[in-house]
Symmetry: C2
């Protein structure tokens, strides 16, 4: 009997493995597809690879300011795809080699929990095998949802997974259905790599979300316009029809588009439909019910990642894996705490957030004040020719503790961690202001965003 | 009588101005040259501008991995210099406009303290004027030193300031005397922009310093070799002679070089030789003596930045300016605290450090353990094609508090602030490990650098 069977080798399964191996546990992994899961193979990591390329493409015309004269250049998506496969292949191989070195058995089939300690694996050829574990961790992730009769066929209508794992050629005209995070990320990438992109979004703004304030949506929308990315808000797809090589799409506003592909990007649902036959409790949307220790209704079966009802983010999955492993094998149990989950978006701007927005603070009855500073005058951002964007810090007016931060612009996804640490340690505006930041650094923006509150307004 | 006279408009003077204006003080500025001081006009900011260009030049051959095919490119230093001037011009103009908008008088001459409340300004035409202030802040910075009979002449032998402010054409062959921070930064920039560079350093390694461990010097030296930058350690210049258009240099190792320019980069000294005639106390090296409130021996005269004996860094100057202003005008006085000064170097690698090294911990009688993780497997670094480098965290073995951090590689100069906050807040290895970092981010490296200590070793 294994100490632990991990079903699903995405970010949750990977982190659980790393922790388990360091705890010298005897583990088994069940994974029906590639190790690394969606995140590594067809979501986060390919997105950030292509985004790095897209951002570089956007920057090419500016390089003459550094004395770099490019007499001509061509953009080749297939070549980028090969580079992406190489980067991801390297990361996947590193992971495989670790598993090999540690002699961890990897059962390459679909896992199903058939007893409190039993996982049945069904292989591609239909054969089955059952293994036993003292503990089981369900980390099978999520799958894309479709809406309104738009059915992915892998050719005309594709999912973000099709795009990020396999697509070799960008369509000339691309319709993206859904202007959320993934939709806006792939809109930017596709446009930079040469597609004519239209985004349709049923809500009244791109990146519509409680956490993202409307001014950030407006900023992104202005930038999309500048980059020639079209978007239609409060609009949906009425119907579509393949006609020759093209797809004719009728939109709810009465307009018609002719495109080469439709990219469906309207969300994901937990991959739990056939995960067990022993009665693991799920909610009406298919999320596995867990207590705050991440235990299911079976005390030795835990779940983490997109299968539980927490933010569908890779780093939440890996955090939950660490918590679950601690609760399985350590004496002291800990509860999950989602109060400080940083998130970032990599579209035409990097956008990052942690903690509470002013709106959320208000809803919690906290009187909030905020500090703001643009990257415009940040010397390093100017040197990097990327001085668009700003930071907005939210403070509890009474205690002056920082309780939230939003950053738009250069390196937002890294800078956000400075503020995450500040929030965790209940730092005040004054403590943030009095800190010594390297000059010139982007991080100095925190010093300047606290000036109004700590010293007084300039105007 | 002004509330405050600020002599010197570099990072210290600038920060003092910002703070004073927000405190609604009536101030005057004395600056003999360009506002922004050395940092903005001929040190930090031009260095980072050129470094951004140099780094981009280094990355050009990799861009095909993103499907970006550059059929040909040419590098033009003069054009980069124009871009640099434009960026710095923008920043200087922003500063000027603020001063104008706030109607701050700027006396464009050399300031000398001639009474406890009196500053005499000598203009270029020899005329003088005396103004009075309740408080005086001396922030006149530093000037380059020369050694061993190598005398800057602005043509054959230049200083880093000559290079960064005015140089329009790179020499074909450049000899850099001094392999410290500025020497290594300008060696990288010059080599990327096309010079054949040789560095001579009298010590036995590049970046020789208490804080920089020898393995980092070795890493940089390997990279310099790869980039074709020559360096000669434990070597100095014996003599040199201009012969035609070339300089013939005899080195202490008996070898001879023919170069087009010598860049002198052997350090700086405080610019205090003619700052007063009222007896402000200075030490034997010319640093103004201050107490921990940054007061000189005159209670209303404060000093900050390179004129006081603290780390010669722009951000230390601006920090000291904030402290000095607080001590002049607030009820509660605070003492300067240099225990958490982050620093960064922008050479072929970004190198950043904060807190104690293992060596320094040992000297303080702290038993230290360290956590290490390379960028090799960091997914974002791989996506950015920049996975060279590592983080090393130093912990107090007893308390497990993090007490120091060194980062080499991508965005080290920003990431260091996450650890600076961790040290300030006495976070433990476990707290750093249990934190949620965005995935994929470079900041995740902190989670992985604590695995060995918190959970156990992998091998």
């Amino acid at each position: 009997m294994y100490d632990l069977i991990i079903i699903g080798m995405g970010p949750g399964g990977y982190e659980a493995t790393l922790t388990a191996l360091r705890k010298k546990l005897n583990i088994a992994i069940v994974e029906k597809s590639k190790i690394g899961g969606n995140c590594l193979n067809r979501a986060c990591i390919p997105t950030k690879y292509y985004r790095a390329g897209a951002h570089q493409i956007e920057k090419l015309p500016l390089l003459n300011k550094y004395g770099i004269n490019l007499s001509s250049n061509s953009i080749d998506f297939l070549q980028a795809k090969k580079g992406k496969d190489e980067a991801i292949g390297f990361l996947r191989k590193s992971l495989s080699q670790l598993l090999k070195a540690k002699k961890v058995p990897v059962y390459k089939g679909t896992g199903k929990i058939v007893g409190q300690n039993q996982v049945q694996i069904t292989y591609e050829d239909g054969k089955t095998e059952t293994i036993e574990g003292k503990y089981i961790l369900v980390a099978t992730g999520s799958i894309p949802v479709s809406i309104g009769g738009i059915v992915p066929d892998g050719k005309y209508v594709i999912t973000t997974e099709d795009y990020l794992e396999n697509m070799e050629q960008l369509p000339e005209n691309l319709l993206i259905v859904g202007g959320g995070v993934a939709g806006c990320e792939l809109a930017y990438i596709s446009a930079q790599y040469g597609s004519k992109v239209t985004v349709v979004e049923i809500k009244d703004r791109l990146l519509s979300s409680d956490i993202i304030s409307p001014d950030i949506s407006r900023l992104l929308q202005r930038k999309f316009k500048k980059l020639g990315i079209e978007f239609k808000l409060e609009t949906s797809v009425k119907d579509y029809k393949v006609s020759g090589d093209k797809i004719v799409v009728n939109l709810s506003d009465g307009s018609q588009l002719k495109v080469d592909k439709i990219l469906l990007s309207v969300g994901r649902k937990p991959n739990t439909s056939d995960i067990d036959n022993i009665g693991i409790e799920k909610d009406e949307r298919g999320f596995i019910k867990t207590n705050s220790y991440l235990q299911t209704n079976f005390e030795n079966i835990y779940a983490c990642g997109d299968v539980v009802n927490s933010p569908m983010l890779a780093h939440v999955a890996s955090y939950e894996a660490r918590v679950a492993l601690k609760n399985m094998f350590d004496e002291k149990k800990i509860e999950v705490d989602y109060s400080l989950v940083p998130w970032s978006i990599f579209t035409a701007y990097e956008i990052a957030h942690v903690g509470l927005s002013e709106q959320q603070a208000k809803e919690k009855g906290i009187e909030a004040i905020s500090g703001y500073y643009p990257f415009t005058y940040n010397e390093k951002a100017v040197d990097e020719l990327e001085s668009d964007g700003f930071v907005r810090l939210v403070f509890d007016k009474k205690t002056k503790h920082v309780i939230g931060a939003t950053i738009v612009g250069i390196e937002a996804s890294e800078l956000i961690h400075v503020m995450a640490y500040a929030i965790r340690n209940e730092m005040t505006a004054e403590e943030i202001h009095d800190f010594i930041y390297f000059h010139p650094s982007l991080s100095e923006i925190f010093l300047y965003a606290t000036y109004d509150i700590v010293i007084g307004k300039l105007f």
